[in-house]
Symmetry: D2
Subunit: 478 residues, 4 copies
Amino acid sequence: MVSFRPGLPSNMILPDKPREECGVFGIFAPGRDVARLTYYGLYALQHRGQESAGIAVANGKRLQLHKGMGLVPEVFSGDQLSYLKGDMAIGHVRYSTTGASHAINAQPLLFRYAGGMIALAHNGNLTNVTELRSQLMAGGAVFQSSTDSEVIVNIIARSDRGDLKDALAKCMIDIKGAYSLVILTVDKLIAMRDPNGFRPLCLGTLDNGFVVASESAALGTVGAGLLRDVQPGEIVIIGKNGLESYQVLQPRRRSHCIFEYIYFARPDSTIDGFNVNQMRRAMGRVLAKEYPVDADLVIPVPDSGTAAARGFAEVAGIPFEEGLMKNRYIGRTFIQPTQDMRDLAVRIKLSPVREVLAGKRVVMVDDSIVRGTTSSKIVAMLRDCGVREVHMCLSSPPITRSCYYGIDTSNEQELIAAQMSTEEICRSIGADSLHYLSLEGLLNIFGNSRDAFCTACFDGKYPVEVVKPQEAGKYSLE
Amino acid sequence: MVSFRPGLPSNMILPDKPREECGVFGIFAPGRDVARLTYYGLYALQHRGQESAGIAVANGKRLQLHKGMGLVPEVFSGDQLSYLKGDMAIGHVRYSTTGASHAINAQPLLFRYAGGMIALAHNGNLTNVTELRSQLMAGGAVFQSSTDSEVIVNIIARSDRGDLKDALAKCMIDIKGAYSLVILTVDKLIAMRDPNGFRPLCLGTLDNGFVVASESAALGTVGAGLLRDVQPGEIVIIGKNGLESYQVLQPRRRSHCIFEYIYFARPDSTIDGFNVNQMRRAMGRVLAKEYPVDADLVIPVPDSGTAAARGFAEVAGIPFEEGLMKNRYIGRTFIQPTQDMRDLAVRIKLSPVREVLAGKRVVMVDDSIVRGTTSSKIVAMLRDCGVREVHMCLSSPPITRSCYYGIDTSNEQELIAAQMSTEEICRSIGADSLHYLSLEGLLNIFGNSRDAFCTACFDGKYPVEVVKPQEAGKYSLE
Amino acid sequence: MVSFRPGLPSNMILPDKPREECGVFGIFAPGRDVARLTYYGLYALQHRGQESAGIAVANGKRLQLHKGMGLVPEVFSGDQLSYLKGDMAIGHVRYSTTGASHAINAQPLLFRYAGGMIALAHNGNLTNVTELRSQLMAGGAVFQSSTDSEVIVNIIARSDRGDLKDALAKCMIDIKGAYSLVILTVDKLIAMRDPNGFRPLCLGTLDNGFVVASESAALGTVGAGLLRDVQPGEIVIIGKNGLESYQVLQPRRRSHCIFEYIYFARPDSTIDGFNVNQMRRAMGRVLAKEYPVDADLVIPVPDSGTAAARGFAEVAGIPFEEGLMKNRYIGRTFIQPTQDMRDLAVRIKLSPVREVLAGKRVVMVDDSIVRGTTSSKIVAMLRDCGVREVHMCLSSPPITRSCYYGIDTSNEQELIAAQMSTEEICRSIGADSLHYLSLEGLLNIFGNSRDAFCTACFDGKYPVEVVKPQEAGKYSLE
Amino acid sequence: MVSFRPGLPSNMILPDKPREECGVFGIFAPGRDVARLTYYGLYALQHRGQESAGIAVANGKRLQLHKGMGLVPEVFSGDQLSYLKGDMAIGHVRYSTTGASHAINAQPLLFRYAGGMIALAHNGNLTNVTELRSQLMAGGAVFQSSTDSEVIVNIIARSDRGDLKDALAKCMIDIKGAYSLVILTVDKLIAMRDPNGFRPLCLGTLDNGFVVASESAALGTVGAGLLRDVQPGEIVIIGKNGLESYQVLQPRRRSHCIFEYIYFARPDSTIDGFNVNQMRRAMGRVLAKEYPVDADLVIPVPDSGTAAARGFAEVAGIPFEEGLMKNRYIGRTFIQPTQDMRDLAVRIKLSPVREVLAGKRVVMVDDSIVRGTTSSKIVAMLRDCGVREVHMCLSSPPITRSCYYGIDTSNEQELIAAQMSTEEICRSIGADSLHYLSLEGLLNIFGNSRDAFCTACFDGKYPVEVVKPQEAGKYSLE
């Protein structure tokens, strides 16, 4: 079904979190079942997008594509994987930011242009897409989706004079913002990353082939080893003659998304040189130093707060306990509680262990608060269990600004920290105290690399100029 | 799901028939539930395409689209219809000729270009699409499907300087071949028909609104009355100020597809002035005059041979009987007989009435033979029932050439009449005699209009120059 | 899914018709793919039930079953058929009368009892099932469905002392009403028919094997030849030693359902010695003799009125025309018109051919009227087309009483002929005249066999005593 | 679909674990939406069975049922829940032990017998079911499933003389083995537990109503509080007059399943007085005392080994780390790696954090080993990451015997500990050392209650006599 109506909401995650846009994967491995390996690679990236999934394969002569709405195992059957034969492939999982959750926006997108067939999959968000689309339309271009990928391929099609590399390089000059792109032609696998390096993209080796992926954890899943990250401003072209690298744009000040470390990425991924799990543990340690609390227990909000909670407990010398259990079976079709059962909404996903909690003063560690809707319910549930004090500690600074580089952080009006002081938030969620990790403390964890990150959602320092969404809206295909 | 792999074969019809490409429907009726009326209109055109269905609606500000693979009732749920709100709509049912049976080729297609949003649905086949696509690609265009509609919208996008009518008129000059098009913008319903008038397209009124459809039967289904046919070379633009007509191209010699009367169209449709049922009856009458046969019974191959068989019986003075019964429940997922049960393949769909047939000399009337695979099985089945003689009469001349104007008649190598003489065919299907309606006899039925039809599949006189499919193939997106 | 909630209504047929309960099929053919042949056999009986379908196979050691809600091709995939391996099989298609449309009531039902495994499929309706179930429950029996089959197997289980034939014979004495049963044990195929012979059941040969089926048309579909009908009161047991027949009960006065000839059965079936198509034609002939009408055209309400209309036209000497076309694609999920589109309800399924009808005085032949809801809409639609006079002729007498032998004729309160005189009905449907075939005329068609039919729905002469449904209801499992 | 063919395997859990049979839930709460609360209750018990789910509700007059194959959110739509209206309900999630994974075996089962309507849902396994079924069949009973529930209801139906309580008490005397049963009549909710108390069953209060559930965690999810456990040998009958309790059988030596604490139950459940999470932590502590290991890190196999690993780390004074990450998205349709990708099978579900592990000597804590197939792959994967030593510690004694009380532990031939010595197992999985928790150590954790557990899978001391499965098989309905 291809429909322009809104998709079903995913219930895989607690609703009060920022949402990652996408994950990408690419593989060049003649002789291997590249479609199936891409399936496993996408599966390893499933946390980056649960709305749609797709795989395109190339066999030297043509491209084939299968994609659909849903989780990776829902979109692909064994038959469909078997049908996708080739030497290389790209794949994509998606959680929409620009472009509503429509089937037409599922990726990869497959195009024919004067240079041949080409498929693209994109993680990120172009900041000048509205302007670009508008210029292209003035030149006669037509658009069928609201994806950045469709804009990118139109730019390529207009500048490709027989050398795709040159066209890609030219395209890189035109497009602004965040992009980690994997591209497939009939005989090439291409990866490119914006000059700020907003979104992650890494490169690995598998036997005599290569793998690119949003996160290194996806390399391990298919048995590949991490070689290095794709550099900001770099284009990597992989074909039967091996790998060529072009540093097309001199990297600007690096602006890696710091939220990958705080919340998005898998703990077992290593991104731009830093292991996610270790960074989270370190955030918890710094948090404990910044805010010494007198308490009996440290508990995480699972799973995203677990590593930080453990770091906190280590430094604070307070016992760590799993005081909240998470039900892991929630799927896309889960029936939400009705209004009159609203108090059950959190209980269904998280349940407190009364034996651990009763009578205790508790430090509860979570990664972030976006709108604050869930936190107050968790605090209430803890008090129900006889918790005497709840000290909420967050391993991120207050989120006060929207992200325009590929993450859905809600509008600023919905961001609780943009509307209230920390004290007001604390009161609103009913905690005894509320502590945010300081931006300074967060950045220090990364040592000499402390300037290599985008912190716009905390401090409004946008590394690349942005267009306001209302303006963008008027050109959208929705 | 969007997939570039081959779709499932439809088993709705006996396999040995030419296949219609598409049916289109459009409605302008503010205040009415236009999506639901389009649903019924498409349902009335279901015989013209069972592979995919889609509806786009416009509400003055924006377009919405839902489409998918399958029959009309399979693609749309009540919820989806309710979601599609507007003042006007277009719809499409599809059976692929160009473009394999891929979801990406389902119509309508929805585009954004400099002129705004536009949706198209197309019945027919452009003969210069390869050349056009190639020119457009040289100018930087990208294609995501193998539909003619995508080519047409690209032409429009490049020539629309603020006046869509002018752009459409210009487009009409560029595109060659067969097209009956319905187009929707946010506030206009547009219909246009090629200057030869290959494929049917009619115009009706519904209260204060208008309806366009491939066949008049679809008008009746939604309660509309037939006003007239859209003229060859005409563009009709319908909006809140009423209907405007532009005779953009002077109609060439009319070349209405004569197979609409022989087989495709519904008997209750009236196309370009002739009622289909009456024409079929007349074909049978002429056939009986051309070939007087001494027999006991006239039986049709249901349902397509029924009207002609009745006409034959009238003139021949031989009793008409329903000697073959058709099972009407075969759906898309029907499991075909295995090789060792091949003799059951016809029995499952058609069953002979022994009581009627045993010991009789039978005239069996069918509309046409394409590859001849089914006819021999039917003849054998009749003989099994004790039929003494089988005289096969066809209400069309021998099909010896492929159609390039929107019908799938198979390759010429597969056309039995292109490979064998009538005598050889008769022997091959095991009949006692075989009679084709003469082309002369067929055309005479239409009286003064006898020159207004395309008869290329019988005599190779192609009204518009065609490009051979192998050449077309190399540009296709498959 | 197994659910006790009401199923979805089937839209496969015009709603104002009596509904057949079921079709059964059985095959004994070692070495053949019996599951697949049963699939085709059930497909040939699809008109007898579109709500659920099921197949059980036996391989000498065990039984296997697959069943589900929906049409035969919806319930079975190729994989499922391949999985069902054996030497013999039974199958069932169902349209519920007793027992609402619940998955739990889908047949065949598979049981284990002291005598081993047994599967049953049933067409008909026991009239003393309430009493039997109640006796069995008093003896400790438990029931999971509201099917007669479950009652029958409990009776068998309580009387089988090592000889299934004896137990079946004993069961035949206990159960009253209408039943055409097929039964499967691990090594036997059994057919039995009630002593009145209410519902049809015939026996055929296929190579060295045997086939039983509700209608002979299903024999033809699988390549079997008709041997004879199973006799009222007969049990047929088929195994590797061939066929044994037991005339357990002396047949009472035969009470074959006359509605099989009027409406239910396929025209190409021959039931208890009479070909259905020929009987329908004869009904039309008698009707024309009983009611000479001065008119220009005879048209049928397709498809059920077609044969009778042709017979009528022959005798009346009035031209026969197909003035109404039926859309054949309506499936189970078809979205019905909303209240404000009620006038479209008939147009969607039937459409008039204006060219044939305008200005004409028309005899419209249908098989029967149940509630009269559809007829008035058809008459109005004809008048819209300019028909001058509508003379409605029915090839059955007025239906004034409910059926308790396996057919859903609605409650007597809903039967229009039980509430109104013919004149009132004529006025209510807006016809110029209304003629019913006389019961005398109907029976005379069958010559010497004229007393061999149940005519209770016309004259209230119930051959077997019935229990009122309200009483039955209180024991039902719904 | 109701099918007797094998169901699809669930991939929700690592394959080398014992499998719980079922979870049950019951609620009496007039005025509340009992179906929806049961939905959430079953969702909280989803880990106890992922194969089928079902809910029956009673409204004082009748019972309604919906059930199907799949996870709770897959089986129920919002519409279906809305349809199930009543004052009380029971629900069931299932993982088959006896009875293959057939739709016919999904629970609850709904019956009508002389006493009225009754629905049952069962967790456990009767040890004399073969004998009972055989006796019942000798008395004329028929069976449609291979569930214990069908046997139980037949016993009740034969002994109920107007007092269901008496019939249940009589039934309790007849049936042997493990059962935690919830039963629903039109106006009563009943819970009963076998006199050994094999499987858990607890009782809670919700406003003025009551809830029974396999685990206390399900009480919390619906907002109910834990009152007490249902006692071994107790029948609890809940109706509008409140709760009645009958201690029908004097409890024998309690034989609570100790594997609930080791692996099955949720950590946040409290069963028969012991909190699961605390017991697991304690097992880890004892394990560390029994087997002091010199190592750098303690890591769990997530999630089942986490609590024990933490306990181990505390006592051993070795840092705890999450060295293995688990992918949580695997669903039922996940496509398993092909043979040539077998090395990926574990990587897809578990991935090692190289940064944590490289160069380290690791204690890896898991709950149990059944067949040993997965452990060797995990060990190999750790070594790939540069782990220097792997010391595998298990928080259970070696499993050497099959369970006959409701858990699928595989055949003894497949149990690695029944075939090999600990040393051989260690070699076979490639670990540097392998340590099992001693049975003595395990039991001591429970203090004075150390004799209240069934330990048959470790020591072969079966508290209730068992029938060998091969014998049972010959009566099964598979």
